[in-house]
Symmetry: C2
Subunit: 422 residues, 2 copies
Amino acid sequence: MKWAIKGNIVYAKNSSELTIVENGLIVCDDDKIIGVFEKLPEKFGGIKITDYGDKLIMPGFSDLHVHAPQYKFRGSGMDLELLDWLEKFTFPEEAKFKDLNYAKKVYSKFVDDLRKSSTTRASIFATIHIETTVELMDLLEESGLVTYVGKVNMNRNCPDILTERDAETSIKNTVEWLERIDGQYKNTNPIITPRFVPSCDGKLLNMLGDISTSYNLPNQSHLSENPNEIAFVREYEPKSKFYGDAYYMHNLFGGKNRTIMAHCVYSSDDEIELMKNQGVYVAHCPASNTNLSSGIAPVRRYLDRGLNIGLGSDIAGGHSLSIFRAMADAIQVSKLRWRLQDDSLKPLKVSEAFYMATKGGGPFFGKVGSFEENYEMDAIVVDDTVLNNLDTYSIENRLERVIYLDNEINLVSKYVKGKKTF
Amino acid sequence: MKWAIKGNIVYAKNSSELTIVENGLIVCDDDKIIGVFEKLPEKFGGIKITDYGDKLIMPGFSDLHVHAPQYKFRGSGMDLELLDWLEKFTFPEEAKFKDLNYAKKVYSKFVDDLRKSSTTRASIFATIHIETTVELMDLLEESGLVTYVGKVNMNRNCPDILTERDAETSIKNTVEWLERIDGQYKNTNPIITPRFVPSCDGKLLNMLGDISTSYNLPNQSHLSENPNEIAFVREYEPKSKFYGDAYYMHNLFGGKNRTIMAHCVYSSDDEIELMKNQGVYVAHCPASNTNLSSGIAPVRRYLDRGLNIGLGSDIAGGHSLSIFRAMADAIQVSKLRWRLQDDSLKPLKVSEAFYMATKGGGPFFGKVGSFEENYEMDAIVVDDTVLNNLDTYSIENRLERVIYLDNEINLVSKYVKGKKTF
C-alpha cells in the first residue's frame, strides 16, 4: 500500500552535500521508498498523507557500535584509559550479566532509551552469556528497531569472572545461542562478535571465522583503538602483518563475511587498503576515542578513499546514545585533529557527519540511510520549534543547530522499515 | 538570620580533591556561609532547614566568558574559523543590537535560559550599543543572578555596521553608558570590555585602561585564541612583546584592574608569567576552542603554575550555556591534547574541572565558589534520580555522571548570594 509523509525533508545522497526539499513529500510503498517529491504526483492521488508541517524529516540513524551491558555506568570512570577502564569498570559489570534479573533491568532501560532515540538501526555487543543475550534480543524485537546483536566471545586475558576459558567452550556457547534464536525474530539478527584480538586467541578467531562463513553471518569487533592495545596485538599475534590482518587471516574482515570494525584510530596504510578492498565498515566513535584518551580517527582519509564508514555511540566508552551528538563530536574532533595532528586532513563538514550517520553506516543493514528509490523507509521527525523562536533559519542551518543542540529538540515520530514506532 | 539546607554536599577546596559530606548541612547567616556540618551543631538548634533528601548540592557555577548577543545563532556556522566566523556570523548579528525591540527579544531568551541554568555568576559581553546593553543589564538584575556586563568597545577592522569609528567616540559612549547605569543595580555590574586587540587601536586601549583605573572597574577581553589572530596582533601592535603585553601596556591586564582573559590557547611562557604576576583570570572555553578549530589550551600548566582559571561557555563560539558541559568538554579536550600534542601535561580529572567551574572562577566575583566559611552562598540542587534507577552510586560517581549526562538531570533549586531564585 502506498502512503506518504510531508515536511521539510533532509537527506544526503553523498557526503559532500545535503539534499533538501522544503515542504516536500516522501512517498512509500509499504516499507520501501518510491521517492521524494515537491508536490504529490497525480498518480499518487488519494494515498494517505501524514503532514508534519514545518518539522524536519530525515533518515533514521544507524549506530554501528554500542555495548548494551555497559549502559548502566555510562559517564563513569572516564579518568581511565582503555585497558584500565576495561579491567576496573567494564569486565566486572559485564560479569553481572550471567544473572537474568539483573540483565532484564539494565537491558530494558537500554532498549527503551534506544527506542526513544534518533537511532533506527544498531549493531550491538551483548556479553558472553547466552540467556541474557537472548533476553536482550527479545526486548529489541519488541522495540520495533532493526538490530544486529552479538553474544561476545572471549577466552584469553579475561578475568575469571568473565571468560569462556577455551575456544571450544566459546564456540559451543555460540552455536547453542544461534540454535536457540534460529527463526525467532523478524528484526533482530545475530552477529559474530569476538570482543577483540587481545581477548580471543587465534584458534577461537579461526573457529568464529568458520561460523561466520558457514552460517552466513556478519561479524563485528574492535580495531586499532589505542596504542597499548595495538602493541599487545603485535606481541600476541606475531604472524599478523598488522592488527586488521589478525582478523583477516581468520575470515573475520569483510569480503563475503560483512564486518564492522569499531574505532580504527591508528590504522596503517596497509590496514586501510585491506578495509577498502574487503568492504569493511568503520564505526567511528568520537566520544569514546576522546573519553578513553585513545586519539582521533582520520575520518577524512576514510571518506576520501571511499571506505564504508558510519558512526557509533560506543556506550559506555561514549557516554551518550545520541547519534546527533556523535555527529557534532565527529566534526569537533576532526577540527582538533586538523589543528594538532595533520592539517592535510580538513575538518569534517555537517554534510559529511550527517552522511556517516545515515547513508554511510546504513547500508550495513541493507538499503538503509537515504530517501532514494527502493531504500527501506527509516525516518525520524524532529520538532525544533524551541530553537526557532527568535528568527527564521534555513533548513540547512536548522539541521546544524539540531545536531549541536540535540538535547533541546523533540523527536515526535520515528519510522523503522516503514512502520511507525512512535 | 541563620538557615540551612540539607543534602549530599559536594564542593572543592582545591583542585586536587572533592570535599563530600553525605546527608550534610550547609549552615548560612543571611547570604554568607558559616560552614558545612555532618550534623546540625546544637548552637544552631531551631533554625530553618530545607531538606533536599538524597539530592546533590554543589556551589553555583561561574561562567567567565559569554556573549549574550550571540545566543540566537548558537550552533550555527560551526564550519568556520574564528576570523571568518566573526565576519560572516557574529558581526552582522551584533549590528542588529542597535534595535531595542530586537535586543529585548534575544536578551530575554538568553537571560531566561541563564537563569534556569546551573550558572549563578557570569561575566558577559554585550555589544557596542548603549541602550540595549542597559536593557540586558535590566533583565539580568531581575533574574537574581550576579553578573558583570560589558558594553563592547571596537574601533578598527570592524565592518561599517558595527564600529564606533574612533577612540574618542568609543570612550564617550562608554562614559555615557557608565553614567546611565550608575547606582541602578544591586547585582549587575559594569566591566570594561575592549573586544580584542585586532578590534581596538592603541589609543582606545589606553583610554580604556584609564577608565578601568579611574572608575575602579574590572575589564575583560580575548587573548591568544587563534594563530591567525596572534599574527594579526603581532603586525598591528609591533611594540608589544607578546599579545598579552598589548593589554598590559595599557593597564588592561590585571594588577589593580582585575581582568578576565578568554581562551589563552597559545600563551607563551612570558605571557603566562605575566598573567600569574598580575592575577589575570583565564576563562577556559573548551567548546569554543574546538568549534572554531582554535586548538586546546594547556590548562594543566595553568593549574600547576597557580594561575586563576575558570570556565566559560563562550556562547556562540561554544554552543551550550551549560557549565556542566564545559567541565566535560574541558576534561575531554585535555585528553586529546595529552595524546596528540604534549604528553607532559596529564589529562584533567573530574575534581579539577569542577574546581575551575566553582572555586577557580568564582573569586572574580568575590568570595564565591566554595562552601567554606564566609563564602557567599551560591548553590545549586541537582536531582539525578533518573541516572540512579539501576544501581546505587557513590556521590563522587554521581557527580561525574551528572557532569557527562547533564541533559538528563533536573536542577530543582538555585541559590544566589543567599537568595533562592527557584
